[in-house]
């Protein structure tokens, strides 16, 4: 019988360190997309609170402690993930949620990375068209947007600290593009 060894999406690709910036892999645990049925939003949020201790996030926001989860803490958080959808991370979804929303396991679908360190904001500014200024994109804000040409989820965890999700198949491209931008920022004395 063949023994299959699990391999994380960014295994062998990270960490990448350039100047004071690091790109690392994050283990968010179980990932489940949660898409509420029409008229079931309130019930869903209540069920989510009862089962996992967090509310359903509003568009562009997160609930729970995403930075703690990204740092390896075993707790659940939710990241808004698109129109009428969010991503439940770090918990096996309570079966009761299925009354209120379509649940889909995405655990193996996403490469989850974190870029940290002075210059990280400048790196992302080279790759995404969203407004990253602190007044517009605060800690706990999240966006579905473009990263270079990839569809991405970007969440701000701190001043120069971001969580980035892209499709697992794009893991290599993600690391290549972010590394290149890190080198560009560092070369100009920004990192």
């Amino acid at each position: 019988m063949v023994e299959l060894a699990p391999k994380s999406p960014l295994a062998g690709l990270v960490p990448v360190t350039v100047g004071r910036m690091t790109l690392t892999e994050v283990d968010l645990g179980r990932l489940t997309s949660v898409a509420p049925y029409r008229g079931r939003d309130e019930g869903l949020s209540e069920a989510l609170k009862a089962a996992h201790g967090i509310a359903a996030p509003e568009p562009g926001r997160v609930t729970g402690r995403v930075a703690a989860r990204a740092s390896g803490r075993d707790e659940a958080c939710a990241i808004w993930f698109g129109q009428r959808m969010f991503l439940l991370a770090g918990a096996d979804p309570d079966p009761a949620l299925a009354q209120y929303a379509a649940l889909s396991d995405q655990s193996d679908g996403w490469a989850c990375a974190r870029i940290q360190g002075r210059g990280a904001t400048q790196v992302l500014a080279r790759l995404t068209p969203i407004d990253l200024r602190p007044a517009a994109f605060r800690r706990g804000h999240t966006a579905r947007t473009e990263l270079q040409h990839m569809a991405a989820s970007i969440t701000r965890l701190g001043e120069d600290d971001y969580l980035i999700l892209v499709f697992r198949a794009l893991a290599g491209t993600l690391v290549q593009d972010v590394r290149q931008a890190m080198q560009g920022v560092a070369a100009r004395g920004g990192g």
Partner: protein, 90 residues
């Protein structure tokens, strides 16, 4: 050009996919006369001025949008969720 998605806020044009005239929301009934289907499928105005288009926030929240804009000035006059414009029908 920037489009203000009702869900995501103001975003760069590159995040959106242009779909075409918002007439696509006015699908005729299945038993409508052939002229209605001919108009729906083939006939489009080419306005110099205000027009309504369908756009898709492909690299964002994945919402379908109705964008009202001016083809002469490139001004974007309004953006609405297609689901709000169309309601729950169909």
């Amino acid at each position: 050009m920037r489009i203000t998605c009702p869900i995501c806020g103001e975003r760069d044009r590159r995040e959106f996919y242009y779909v075409g005239d918002a007439v696509a929301l006015e699908r005729p009934d299945a038993d409508a006369p052939p002229e209605a289907w001919h108009g729906y499928i083939h006939l489009r105005d080419n306005p110099c001025g205000v027009t309504r288009d369908l756009w898709y926030h492909e690299q964002g929240c994945a919402a379908w949008l109705v964008v009202t804009r001016n083809t002469a000035t490139h001004e974007v006059l309004g953006v609405a969720l297609a689901s709000d414009e169309k309601g729950e029908a169909r």
